[in-house]
Symmetry: D2
Subunit: 384 residues, 4 copies
């Protein structure tokens, strides 16, 4: 018989923003149950958070180490199946590593790790243990992103020539002093890049996910606009893809008034696509010499991969960020359940970012940071 | 200590669309647990549905009667707290009535009942028992609807003069032969009105919810466009409100190419508002002789009632239909929890449609149907 | 050989808004020459206006009577061919009548006249003299309105079921004290209706122009919102068309923050259309169960009637209000030139509103004003 | 007394697109009169074109040389005041030079010349003769571009940090064989660049015009996507401005489905702006932590420079490309008229692109072409 997958959470205590998002994303489809957590490195705060979440006290732990060890001792029908890591970047690696070493599957927020060394070690561990590892590059969970991908992969646009991907935000246009900003702008917690790591990686991931192309070299111009900040808060990048396509990647946190305006435009020999995260249920499809078409989630003949990621069949009932995030969790849970039952997972649900995407994202961070410092125009994308 | 509210569901078995929506809406915030259900009038189908939902077999019932009686016998710490009714219109009344009579709180899909007699009986029962009753007029759950309401109530627009509310859909533009269409176009299951009952009531509810005004008389022109259909699939209605404001209500299911385009425009002496369900995180605010402002969920100084219904603080991460629906459930659950704990509920969460809104919706249906047949221009809104 | 058509203007002196618009509209295509004018009922002001317009002093007249008589005496190769009347409503009739009686063709601003009696007398004169008469219902000059019309007429939408036409403005939301507002809100200069005459007629004309349908009865709810005003500043109207289609016409001058938001939605059995004057180069085309298409001026296979009204072939170079207005003048001028040359006019250019449309507009005004006072729901559209 | 400025046209005969645009632009405001032309290098075609334009036969010339010489001999009250050059790029210089040398003012389409040498010679001639020279970088004529410029110059955005300017078109996505495409893709007629010269210069001009900043170095990635084409049809460029601002310039003619989507986003320390040529009457204004504002032509307190370029005072009546183009002509004509009358020109109308902007545009073309070939990241903007 089917059962819900059991999740333990690392991080995401009171005051953390992204933890709540992960919990909602995991809960939406009724296929995952939060059974335990180490919500804070401060045991008292972890306890209080667990109480708020209505967890039994004995499943709320003072540290992820304690959680992993104690859960491992619980009977199979009770202990968590996987951990969800929602801590700042520099605390991704330790719990991920320990979980894998102790036989737990992992869902981890992005970027994969604090630096490349950690990322490669995690990749090795995943490959060695064979455990499932999902990275929450959540924006690829949107139905119309699936549609865009299917259309490109199916050749509807012809050979891809140009990709413009942007992720402008405005929230760091001035010095910001809150929990979110603090770690994101701190090289000791965020890593080698600021804006490029936090949101540039989403842009890179989205472009490669949809097109199936790989960036092979790039030219980067990163800037720190806000005085005193230590990491880039803006970056403009030119791209060369492996099929000869050209591109622009633009990510910024100083674009005053912009919210989370991740968007992508793709042009091929025969057609074009345009998608914006802020109105995610719409996909503009462009043709040579014909009117544009407004594809909408739920309308017309969509690909199976698209339909598999729509929860509200009647069109015009918008789904959003949480549902896209939830699709990563649901796909992970369904693939995990199939595996636990010894069944072949449905390929429609094997669609979630993996440790490999995580390594790719880390390589992107390394490459743009080095490219930015280089006087040469084209800098090769680092291979690992 | 806090605990999740326990929900039993009536209806929503395999193949039903709206049951899944209610389950997601109840699950999102992690404050409600689906513990049992009578998912179909066909016991085998109910059983299969429960299994799919990973419920224990002994909590899946063959009928709502069985569910209510059996659950009542369970110990207090185990039995359901409330039932959620997601059946077609003609099966709202029987489970609602029985639940109330047996001490269970109720969440019920709209419209409240099949006819006015049932509606009034439910209102009496709610008043007599003092149990909580929520009606899922879900569109009022959107954050920017809360913002619109707070702005109007706070006088930001001045005295309201004009309200234009529309709900055009296109899915019934041709004869449609599926489960959704079947009961909605059948007078024996849907009630006295088709389009006006199914979506016209949402429009009426939204207009009155935001403005705080009441329609006092109206002029209706209902039409059956698709041959052989027995209930209206289109309606144009002129409105007079109790403060002298004028209005137009337009609902249709034959507007080819329209999805779920519920939208409202409100004009006062000092300002105007515009909101569209299909892009729900945006509220256009209009001023005398000044540029329009684009209010967005999460941006700037929003009212507390707005912020209390946003789950994703960073702006630009769209929330949608499911979240708005979920807010009805969450508010109901929080108000119920407070009551069970003997605490005063937080007024921010006492904000969900009640049996009184349900009676109002039924009166709207009755009024438009009678007004449509009347040769006189203005027909008084029926009072109950 | 071809020559420019020679225009004399009545009204449109300094400070008048619409006169300048007519002059630009007439000038754009280089087919009309302003040769004389009686720009104001105040001769000194007329003179000063003519000087500003760089007209020779002897062609600037103190009154339209003087202009018509003096121009008549000029040699054929010099005298004006037609007059353009751009005065307030109550001064349309006298110059139009005198011009027709003296053999001059006429372009006249809308509405046709101050009352129905004048309108009918003008129609008789036009029919008797056989002179050309154009009414500047300028909004029908837009290319995408031509496209909409051609699509409907060609059956692309199937039988028309529903028409929603709106013209909300906000500029009279408060008492306004300027030249424009003064005459428009004065029954002695504007006529029996305010908002309905000024802009409601544009909405009526647009709906009938595109669909080819005629309104046969209507139900009107007109309001004066601003205290002290004598004519309606808002109106909601339900419509019945001659083919059984239903409709809503909404026009208002108190919709705070709205500019000149004339827009129309048309739904047939097979498809739908949506057009907004404020973004006039776009036409949304809706299909059953397929993505919407965004038709744009200059893109794809457009009808000849559409292409004949586009001046800027490359798409994406927006044309606007002045060009649409100019198309009325150009079509009038080309038809007139053909006639003067004894040639058969090109049907593509015989497309401009006539005295017949003007009578229809006057009948609309009469009908809505009477319908508004009537207690019966449906009021027949008056026939003349 | 005032009189119309008299224009002679070079190029723009039958079948040419841009000549008709210039004629409309010159005609709109009634301040310029087309009095003569050499419409084609083929005298018969020139003659036929002049006849169509209803010019007297003796003012239609077989070549620009003939026109300049013959017009020079006409009496002062009759001969043309200036020439308008609307030929392909390689035929800008000869008539411009000859006109200046013979005392005629000049309006010239962009880019200024075929190569830098010609451009510098024209600049010298303009400086030496003191004659007026306008370059039709028409996009700076839009009212909301004026508003954007005034806002930036007035410090409303704070110090500018980032500029993103794009000009994607799709019309050359495949091999195109028409008159327009032929010369634009031919190095012998177009110059050193294709896309970058044709539309990249518009983008460069727009960015510098609004911000008042100068590009000091850039990094260019130009591509020829369509096989067999000899000039770039796509380009991505990173920009560094003289105040430290960063930027992206993206121009392309292979963006399938894009029309003339020139657009610009500007971000400063305090605010942001967003403008799109395809909906030119709207300017989005972004603030730190407050709702966006939608500035519209005609609404609210706009700068004088904005209002001076609006012809249709009531908001919501769209003006477009032709009006923006016309503003270049009108401003040129008014400045010229003031000068001819010996008056000080109104600074509001001295606002049109000059030969200096033309040299700048030529330098841009040279710089991107050289930068594209360079392996170094940053290439200095060439100074002349």
């Amino acid at each position: 018989m089917n059962r819900k997958m059991r999740m333990g959470m690392v991080g995401g205590g009171q005051g953390a923003f992204i933890g709540a998002i992960h919990r909602i994303a995991a809960a939406i489809d009724g296929e995952i149950e939060l059974v335990c957590g180490a919500f804070s490195s401060d045991p008292a705060r972890s306890k209080a958070s667990g109480e708020e979440l209505m967890l039994p006290a004995n499943r709320v732990y003072g540290s992820f180490e304690e959680m992993i060890l104690k859960e491992k001792e619980l009977p199979e029908g009770e202990r968590m199946d996987f951990i969800s890591i929602v801590t700042p970047n520099h605390v991704h690696f330790p719990p991920a590593k320990m979980a894998l070493e102790n036989g737990f599957h992992v869902v981890c927020d992005k970027p994969l790790a604090f630096n490349m060394q950690e990322a490669l070690e995690l990749r090795d561990l995943v490959n060695k243990t064979g455990l499932l590892f999902a990275l929450t590059h959540n924006y690829t969970g949107y139905p119309m992103v699936k549609q865009a991908r299917a259309m490109v992969r199916n050749g509807e646009l012809g050979k891809i020539r140009k990709v413009i991907v942007e992720y402008p935000q405005g929230w760091l246009a001035t010095p910001v002093d809150n929990k979110q900003a603090a770690w994101r702008t701190d090289p000791n917690r965020s890593g080698a890049a600021g804006c490029m790591g936090d949101i540039g990686t989403h842009a890179e991931n989205l472009a490669e996910y949809i097109t199936g192309l790989k960036i092979v070299e790039l030219c980067a111009d990163l800037t720190i606009f806000v005085e005193g900040r230590q990491l880039d808060d803006d970056g403009n990048v030119l791209l060369h893809f492996d099929n000869g396509a050209k591109g622009i990647l633009h990510a910024s946190q100083i674009c005053v008034g912009d919210e989370n305006n991740l968007n992508i435009r793709i042009y091929g020999e025969k057609g074009g696509l345009e998608w914006r995260q802020e109105e995610p249920n719409t996909l503009i499809v462009k043709h040579l010499g014909k009117p544009k078409e407004v594809y909408r989630a739920g309308v017309g003949n969509l690909y199976d991969a698209t339909k598999a990621h729509i929860r509200v069949p009647p069109p015009g009932h918008p789904e959003g960020y949480l549902e896209a995030f939830a699709s990563i969790y649901r796909n992970f849970a369904r693939t995990l359940r199939s595996r636990l039952k010894g069944e072949t997972p449905n390929p429609l649900y094997m669609d979630f970012p993996t440790v490999e995407d995580g390594v790719r994202g880390m390589a992107f961070i390394e490459t743009v940071v080095e490219a930015n410092k280089s006087p040469q125009k084209w800098y090769p994308f680092k291979k690992y």
